[in-house]
C-alpha cells in the first residue's frame, strides 16, 4: 500500500511535501494542544497518506506506536530515493514533468526523484546531474558554433552568464 505514496512522488518538491505531511501527522500524536491526530489525519494530509495510515494500522487508529514506526519507515524510504537534477530552459507542464520523470526512472532502472531547475541560458535540451556527475545535453554548443561561423568575434566564456537567474 505504501507504494501508492511513492507512485505520486516524482519530484524533490513532491517528496518534501509528503515528508512534511508525515512529520505533521507524527507531531500531532505527541501534541496536547491544537489539532488532534485524527483531525490532522482527516484534514491536513493527502488521501494517499490517509489510506496508507488506515491500512497499515488495520483500522486501529489508537495504535500510535505502529503508526509512528510506519511514518518513520516511509520517511526513511523517501530519503533513499536517488535524485537527478535536470536543468532546462523552458517551463514544463505537469504532464510533461510526469512524462520526463517516468522516462528518467525507466532509463535509470529504478525510482528516481527529478529536481527540475529552470535556466534561461539553455536554449533547448537539458543539463543532467547525478551523484556529482554532469552531462551537457543542451543545444547551446551547436547554436553558438553556428553563430560563430557567421560572426568572427569570439565571445568570452563568461559572456553567456548575462541575464542568468542563478
Amino acid at each position: 500500500m505504501s507504494f501508492k505514496i511513492f507512485d505520486e512522488v516524482r519530484t524533490v518538491d513532491d517528496a518534501l511535501k509528503i515528508e512534511g505531511e508525515l512529520l505533521l501527522l507524527k507531531d500531532s500524536i505527541y501534541k496536547k494542544k491544537g489539532l488532534t491526530f485524527l483531525e490532522t489525519l482527516q484534514n491536513k494530509v493527502s488521501k494517499s497518506i490517509y489510506d496508507f495510515i488506515v491500512f497499515s494500522c488495520k483500522n486501529d487508529l489508537s495504535n500510535y506506536d505502529l503508526i509512528i514506526s510506519q511514518i518513520e519507515e516511509i520517511i526513511a524510504q523517501l530519503k533513499k530515493i536517488p535524485v537527478v537534477i535536470v536543468k532546462i530552459g523552458f517551463e514544463p507542464t505537469y504532464s510533461q514533468i510526469i512524462k520526463i520523470s517516468n522516462f528518467l526512472s525507466q532509463t535509470v532502472g529504478e525510482k528516481v526523484l527529478i529536481d527540475i531547475l529552470f535556466d534561461p541560458q539553455i536554449i533547448s535540451g537539458a543539463e543532467i546531474i547525478k551523484d556529482g556527475k554532469y552531462y551537457d545535453g543542451t543545444t547551446n554548443k551547436e547554436f553558438y558554433d553556428a553563430l560563430l561561423a557567421q560572426t568572427k568575434t569570439v565571445p568570452r566564456e563568461g559572456d553567456f552568464l548575462i541575464g542568468r537567474l542563478k
Binding site: I88, S124, G137
Partner: protein
C-alpha cells in the same frame, strides 16, 4: 579772763557770720560774672581772628592760583618757542644736509665724467693703435659667432618641432589604440547582444513538444555516457 557767751552774743556772731558769708557769695558771684564776660570777649576775639585768618587764606589761595596760571602760561610760551626753534633747527639741518649731498653728488658725477672721458680717450687711443689685421680677425670672429648663433637658434627650433611631433604622434597613437579598443569592445558587445537575441528568438520558436523531445534525448545521451 574768760569771755562769757550769751545768747545775744551768739546771735550776733551768727548774724555776723551770715553776713560775711553773704558778702563772700556776692563777691564770688561778681567774680564769676566778670570771668564770664572775659571769656565771652576772648571768644569773640578768637572768632574775629579766625575770620581774619580765613580771609587771608582765601586771598592767599587766589594769589597762588593766579601765580600758577601765569607760570603755566609762561611755560607754554617757552615750550612753544622751543618747539619753533627746534623745527627751525631741523629745517636748517635738512637744508644743510641736502646741500651737502648735492654737492657730494655733483662732485662724484664730475669725477665720473672725467674718468669716463679719460677711459674713452684711452680706448680710442688703443683702437687707433690696433693693427688692421687684428681688426679683420675681430670682424671674422664676430661673423663666426653670428653664424653659430643662427645655427643654434635653428637647431633649437628643429628640436622643439621634433619634440612636438613626437608628442603629437604619441597622442595620435594613443587615440588610435583607444579607438580600436572601443570598437573591439563594441563589436564584442554587439555579438553578445546578437547571441542573446538569437537565442531568445530560437527558444520561442521551439515548441513545448520539441523541448520535451530534446530533454528526453538529453536523458538518453546521459545514460549512454553513464552519467545516470
Amino acid at each position: 579772763m574768760g569771755i562769757i557767751l550769751n545768747e545775744q552774743t551768739i546771735t550776733l556772731l551768727l548774724i555776723m557770720l551770715l553776713s560775711a558769708s553773704t558778702l563772700l557769695l556776692i563777691a564770688l558771684f561778681i567774680v564769676y560774672v566778670r570771668l564770664l564776660a572775659k571769656v565771652e570777649k576772648m571768644r569773640q576775639d578768637y572768632a574775629k581772628k579766625e575770620e581774619g585768618y580765613l580771609r587771608d587764606l582765601t586771598s592767599l589761595r587766589k594769589g597762588l592760583e593766579k601765580q600758577s596760571i601765569e607760570i603755566l602760561k609762561e611755560s607754554q610760551d617757552v615750550a612753544r618757542k622751543l618747539i619753533q626753534k627746534a623745527q627751525l633747527m631741523t629745517k636748517d639741518y635738512e637744508t644743510k644736509t641736502e646741500e651737502l649731498l648735492n654737492s657730494a653728488i655733483k662732485l662724484i658725477d664730475q669725477r665720473f665724467q672725467e674718468s669716463l672721458l679719460s677711459i674713452e680717450n684711452k680706448v680710442t687711443e688703443a683702437m687707433d693703435l690696433m693693427p688692421a689685421q687684428f681688426e679683420k680677425n675681430l670682424n671674422q670672429e664676430m661673423q663666426a659667432i653670428r653664424i653659430r648663433l643662427v645655427e643654434e637658434v635653428s637647431k633649437a627650433q628643429e628640436a622643439s618641432e621634433k619634440a612636438f611631433n613626437e608628442v603629437y604622434s604619441s597622442v595620435e597613437n594613443d587615440l588610435d589604440k583607444y579607438k580600436k579598443t572601443r570598437i573591439a569592445d563594441f563589436e564584442k558587445r554587439l555579438a553578445q547582444i546578437l547571441q542573446i537575441i538569437a537565442r531568445n528568438v530560437l527558444k520561442k520558436e521551439i515548441s513545448l513538444a520539441d523541448h520535451e523531445k530534446d530533454v528526453i534525448k538529453a536523458i538518453e545521451e546521459a545514460k549512454s555516457q553513464n552519467v545516470i
